[in-house]
């Protein structure tokens, strides 16, 4: 569904990603793992169109999207849940969800979707009129995911969903990710530092180090792989 080939991305004279290639089949959860500074967020920003790519190809559902602006990529069905969530702090929870549905027209369908999302994230229901800035970390992550779902994406990009969350909440977030994939068949690309948790939900995984993919394979085989640990801990 998503095919990335030889992607080079950088800021000014600094190149952060040195030719990344990977494949995301429809209906899969693909994890991209790496420690801080590996280039994970840069990858996500490049995939969603927030920063331009230097060279390489991004094909989404058979269409080249690598040169499209962020707004157009969303309309193609590529939604990003950014690192640090990037909620609209001065807007209410409900308004954040409405913003997620910006590209859609039917008021009734939007209302139905808000209902569905509130069912999935009951915590948000009680806080519907609260300002997003007042949400706790876990609630904020739920809202960020919910907001992205409002656009009916075909592929969801998640940038460090566990960032800054307490361990118990991280587990809930990952449960939600798994559910979305299982129940709604949503294709998901997940970027994480929290390797273990990500590998538990992912089908395949790629390991990113200093802007290059150094290892990839089935999530189950990577879980126990000492190489993962070595890469993280310097071995």
């Amino acid at each position: 569904m998503l095919k990335v080939e030889q992607l080079h991305v950088g800021y000014g004279s600094l190149e952060v990603l040195h030719g990344i290639s990977f494949d995301v089949p429809e209906g899969a959860i693909v994890a991209i793992l790496g420690s801080n500074g590996a280039g994970k967020t840069t990858l996500m920003r490049a995939l969603s169109g927030l920063i331009p790519i230097k060279s390489g190809k991004i094909d989404f559902a058979g269409k080249a999207v690598g040169r499209l602006v962020a707004e157009k990529r969303l309309r193609e069905g590529l939604a990003l849940v950014p690192e640090g969530r990037d909620l609209f702090g001065s807007l209410t929870v409900r308004e954040n969800l409405l913003m997620g549905a910006y590209t859609r027209r039917s008021r009734t369908e939007i209302e139905q979707d808000i209902e569905r999302i509130l069912e999935r994230f009951p915590r948000l229901k009680t806080r519907l009129q609260a300002h997003a800035a007042s949400l706790s970390g876990g609630e904020g992550q739920m809202l960020a995911i919910g907001r992205a779902l409002m656009s009916h994406p075909r592929l969801l990009l998640l940038d460090e969903p566990s960032h800054g969350l307490a361990p118990i909440i991280v587990e809930t977030v990952f449960e939600v990710i798994e559910q979305l994939n299982r129940e709604e068949g949503l294709t998901i690309v997940l970027v994480e530092q929290n390797a273990h948790q990500a590998l538990e939900v992912a089908h395949t995984a790629y390991i990113l180090q200093s802007g290059s993919i150094v290892l990839n394979g089935e999530a189950t085989t990577l879980t126990a792989n000492s190489a993962v640990q070595e890469l993280y801990m310097g071995g």
Partner: protein, 305 residues
Amino acid sequence: MSAFLQVVIAGLVTGSLYGLLTLGIVLIYRTTGVLNFAYGAIASLCACFMYILLTGPRLNFWIALVLTLLFSLLLGIVLERGFARPVLHAPVFTKAIATLALALVLETIAQAIWPQLAEVQHFSTPFEGQALHLGGVYLSAIDIVILVVTASLMLVLNLFLMHTRMGIAMRAMADNIPATRLMGASVGRIFMLVWALSSFLAAICGILLAGQSNLINVQFMDPILLPAFIGAVLGGLDSLPGSLIGGILVGLVSNLLAYFLAGHMLGAVDMSNPAIRDTLIFVGFVIVLLIRPQGLRGRALLRRV
């Protein structure tokens, strides 16, 4: 007592005009980061346009009004494309200087095509000379119009920003531009709408001010730009009701000061001179700013538009 009441009402009217100006200033500042010192010139250009429609082709007041408002929307779009977009990524200060330059250009253009407006001209409205007497308090028709228009514009604007898709998107953009793009919203289109909307507000304010004094020339907005900005900064530059309140406050204080200072002399200094009043307001403003650098109503306090 009724004299005092009269002053308060006059203050509210002046304040409403300032408040209308601050609305447009804050709208642009919050969403696009441009501190628009050309705002007075935009208002004055629109009012002059209307004056020309009224005196040249001798159009009916209401037809001229509609045409002027359409003109103001167009002007906003042209300014966004031709001016705001090229300087979009410049630092706030550079953008502020650019708007000062824009003001000069707009005033020159107005003077070049309408040389008669270099001098003060009479601006007539259907409300001219009409007034209401309410138990000793005198209310001119235009003052009532100003109060009603301000209140209803504030209401409509609030409804627009709180409940429409575009309105919510504008507020979202004030929070976080990249995230707004991630929602599929075209930032360029919203910028354009913001500029159109704010020059629409400027046009209304310019027409009301010209209607109130029945006088107009190219620079007639200059003296009220600073009080409007002071109001906007007092309101915290980040919320529309805050700025409206800031504007009204400046108008009220200004009228009250004029009332209390009238006829007083300090040595040889005539305290009733507008220069003294404006100085006192400015000094008060700086003191407020020093105590609360974020404005009277802080960012923390006011999240709602």
